[in-house]
């Protein structure tokens, strides 16, 4: 009876378990000769164990060998387990080392990433460029710090929402921006839009929004750049450009530039207009430009330009151009030489003005001046005729009247004598009238030679001429005058002669005339005369008398031609004297006016600029 001992089976079980669980692992890790040998070595062990387990007793001759094998069968798995364990530990250490390296690498990447993030933030700040992300599915926004700043928020911590995003865009741009964004989503494409944003403090900014639809994550990713400065500069530039263009068009003034290295000449729009072309409709270089010039003027232009280039100098040249229509226009070109900042090159910045109208006006003016000269000559001729031929009959009336009176006085009665007297007086008056009118027309036309005039000397001379009248009327003249003006001496003498004669003439009966002549120098701004030149010095000459004076309401009228305030029976005169004074003072760019109290006297003020040239 075969006795089965459980204990005898234990090693077999042990071996079996080892072979089933550990051996494959072992083989997997050490798939060398050693493992194969180990597997092969198991086969006899397996048989021995099986045999010993079944027989439960030693079989003689093989018993020792069997025990030996049994011993080995314990050793082999044991060694296997130990080796397996050692190997596992070693693997673990290797894994740890590898992990360590990986962690370090990841740390380095992270550090790099944060550096890059800083760089990005800096870049965003410098370029005023913010970035954002919109997850369409969740409708959640992400803003970069710079975007908060651009939108005018100081607090970067709040979570942007759709509502805030809507609020930021200026109302009139909302529709446009939303359309761009939805287009980008629908067409899965890029978008770009310029619009205005409204900061919480009410400030408006121009921004450029750009981005694209990121389909994989169903997101919109974009940037917003603050372009306010650029935009404002651009707008200003455009405004200036428009202004310049309009100014050029209005003044028919075109500008151009040519660089010594360039083939083409740059022309402003007005240059084309001046030359009769639509802007940028023709190519302009130096050669074609010559073909625009009127044939007779080409050489002059060429000479001026080549001389200027040789001397590296600016130039101005006037010439005619021929428009495509055949019309000839006068232009004037001024060009400035400009050395290039680098290299030996240079450029000319030029300005060409259509001066046809100016030329035309000049020509017309010349014509008018000629006409005027002719008419002046006619007038002189007339004046001569007037002075000679009109006076002749009057002279004879007077002379023969006198003959009549002296030779036939005895045979003409008193009444007849009176008639003759009246006839002679009338003739004499007519002569005076003609003389005064001639003096007036001369004052208006005479050649004007301005020289320094010493007022004291001039008036002293005038008084000397009036000496007889002064003495006859027992007049007192107080002359307290100094200073010098630039004037036409004979004309100024005429002014004082006329006014002083008036003072002596319009005296009160039996009141000896007292005439005060004084002067002072004042600035135009103190004169209270709007036509006076504010910063010009004037000499104010005041002539005051104690004569009959006049009603001051006539003060303006007395300087009009033929204006008389008294009947001829009272005071002789033609009413031309003060008109002559006014004319002469006008010639001197001066002013004259009078003040008076009727019955007490009058004051005449003659205001003359010290320097004539400064005014004319």
């Amino acid at each position: 009876m075969v006795q089965i001992d459980i204990l005898s089976f234990l090693p077999l079980v042990f071996l079996f378990v080892w072979a089933a669980f550990y051996l494959p692992k072992f083989m997997q890790r050490f798939h060398g000769v050693f493992s194969k040998l180990l597997v092969l070595s198991i086969a006899p062990l397996f048989l021995a164990q099986l045999f010993m387990a079944l027989s439960s007793q030693a079989f003689d001759s093989y018993f020792n060998a069997a025990h030996y094998l049994r011993f080995i069968s314990y050793i082999v798995p044991l060694v296997g387990i130990v080796l397996n364990y050692v190997e596992t530990v070693r693997n673990e250490q290797r894994m740890i080392a590898k992990l360590d390296v990986e962690i370090r690498e990841k740390q380095a990447i992270a550090a790099n990433l944060s550096e890059r993030e800083d760089l990005l933030a800096n870049a965003e700040r410098i370029s005023h460029l913010g970035s954002w992300e919109l997850n369409i599915k969740t409708n959640s926004y992400k803003w970069s710090d710079e975007l908060y700043k651009i939108y005018g928020f100081n607090d970067f911590s709040f979570q942007p929402t759709h509502a805030i995003n809507e609020q930021v865009i200026a109302p009139e741009y909302k529709k446009k921006v939303n359309k761009e964004l939805s287009n980008a989503v629908i067409n899965k494409t890029h978008f770009a839009a310029e619009y205005q944003i409204l900061q919480p403090n009410g400030v408006r900014k121009y921004v450029l929004g750009q981005g694209y639809y990121y389909g994989k994550e169903h997101k919109l990713i974009g940037t917003v750049q603050d372009i306010t400065q650029l935009k404002e500069a651009t707008l200003k530039l455009r405004k200036n450009e428009t202004l310049l263009r309009e100014a050029e068009a209005v003044s028919h003034n075109g500008s151009w530039e040519w660089n010594s290295g360039d083939e083409l000449v740059f022309w402003s729009d007005e240059m084309y207009n001046i030359h009769g072309y639509l802007p940028h409709s023709v190519i302009v270089n130096l050669h074609t430009y010559l073909s625009f010039i009127y044939e007779d003027d080409i050489n002059e232009v060429r000479l001026q330009f080549s001389t200027a280039r040789k001397n590296r100098a600016s130039f101005t040249v006037g010439y005619r151009i021929v428009r495509p229509s055949g019309e000839i226009r006068y232009v004037s070109t001024t060009a400035k030489f400009k050395e290039n900042e680098v290299g030996n090159g240079y450029s000319y910045l030029g300005n060409t003005q259509d001066v046809t109208l100016l030329k035309e006006t000049e020509r017309k003016l010349e014509e008018k001046i000629n006409e005027l000269n002719v008419s002046n000559k006619d007038l002189e001729q007339f004046a001569y005729v007037a002075s000679h031929d009109l006076q002749e009959p009057l002279r004879k009336i007077r002379a023969f009247g006198e003959r009549l009176k002296t030779r036939f006085g005895d045979s003409i009665d008193v009444e007849g004598q009176d008639y003759i007297e009246r006839m002679q007086n009338a003739a004499e008056r007519m002569q005076t009238l003609i003389d005064d009118l001639l003096a007036f027309s001369r004052a208006a036309r005479e050649a004007k030679h301005f020289t320094p005039v010493n007022l004291n000397d001039l008036i002293t001379k005038v008084l000397a001429d009036l000496d007889y009248t002064i003495e006859n009327n027992h007049a007192t003249v107080d002359l307290a005058i100094q200073g010098q003006v630039e004037g036409i001496a004979p004309q100024l003498a005429q002014v004082f002669q006329n006014i002083l004669s008036n003072s002596l003439k319009f005296m009160r009966p039996n009141v000896p005339p007292i005439i005060n002549i004084s002067s002072k120098t004042v600035l135009g701004s103190t004169l209270q005369i709007s036509a006076a030149v504010q910063n010009q010095w004037y000499c104010v000459i005041q002539i005051t008398d104690n004569g009959i004076g006049f009603d001051e309401s006539y003060a303006g009228k007395i300087f009009d031609l033929f204006q008389r305030l008294h009947s001829r029976a009272e005071y002789k005169g033609t009413g031309i004297g003060l008109a002559i004074c006014k004319k002469i003072v006008d010639n001197h760019s001066g002013f004259i006016f009078a003040k008076s109290i009727e019955g007490e006297g009058s004051s005449f003020f003659i205001i003359l600029p010290i320097k004539h040239n400064a005014i004319s």
Binding site: R398, A399, F400
Partner: protein
């Protein structure tokens, strides 16, 4: 013959008959009656040429400036150009008061200038002064 030699030859060129009459009256006031009136410069020059041919010389010439055919200036120029006549006293009597005109006439060689006066009395004074100053019998 001696009477002729002693009578001064006074020539007056005056186109205006009124002025001629007045001058004639004025000269007669001072007892100068032998005066030859000529209507223009041309007639004056012709007359002087005839006198010169007859070896006679005018003692005094009075001229107007504005005359038809041959005016006063031309007379002055021609007389002053001729060595035989350049010393004859030559007085201009004109209507002009213009200083420039007077200066230019004096420059041409006139000896004196008078503006025709409006008064006969003044004219007599002028003729008196002319004869006193310029009428020397050769």
């Amino acid at each position: 013959m001696t009477e002729i030699m002693n009578t001064p030859i006074i020539l007056i060129a005056e186109d205006d008959p009124d002025d001629a009459l007045m001058l004639k009256d004025a000269f007669s006031e001072i007892n100068q009656t032998a005066i030859k009136f000529l209507e223009n410069g041309k007639l004056l020059m012709d007359h002087i040429k005839q006198l010169l041919l007859a070896d006679q010389m005018p003692n005094l010439i009075l001229i107007d400036l504005n005359m038809p055919v041959f005016d006063g200036r031309s007379v002055i120029i021609e007389l002053r150009d001729n060595p035989r006549t350049k010393d004859i006293p030559l007085i201009v009597l004109s209507t002009t008061k213009n200083k420039d005109d007077i200066d230019s006439v004096m420059k041409l060689g006139a000896n004196e200038f008078f503006t025709k006066p409006s008064s006969f009395k003044d004219l007599v004074d002028i003729t008196n002064s002319i004869t006193n100053n310029w009428l020397h019998i050769h």
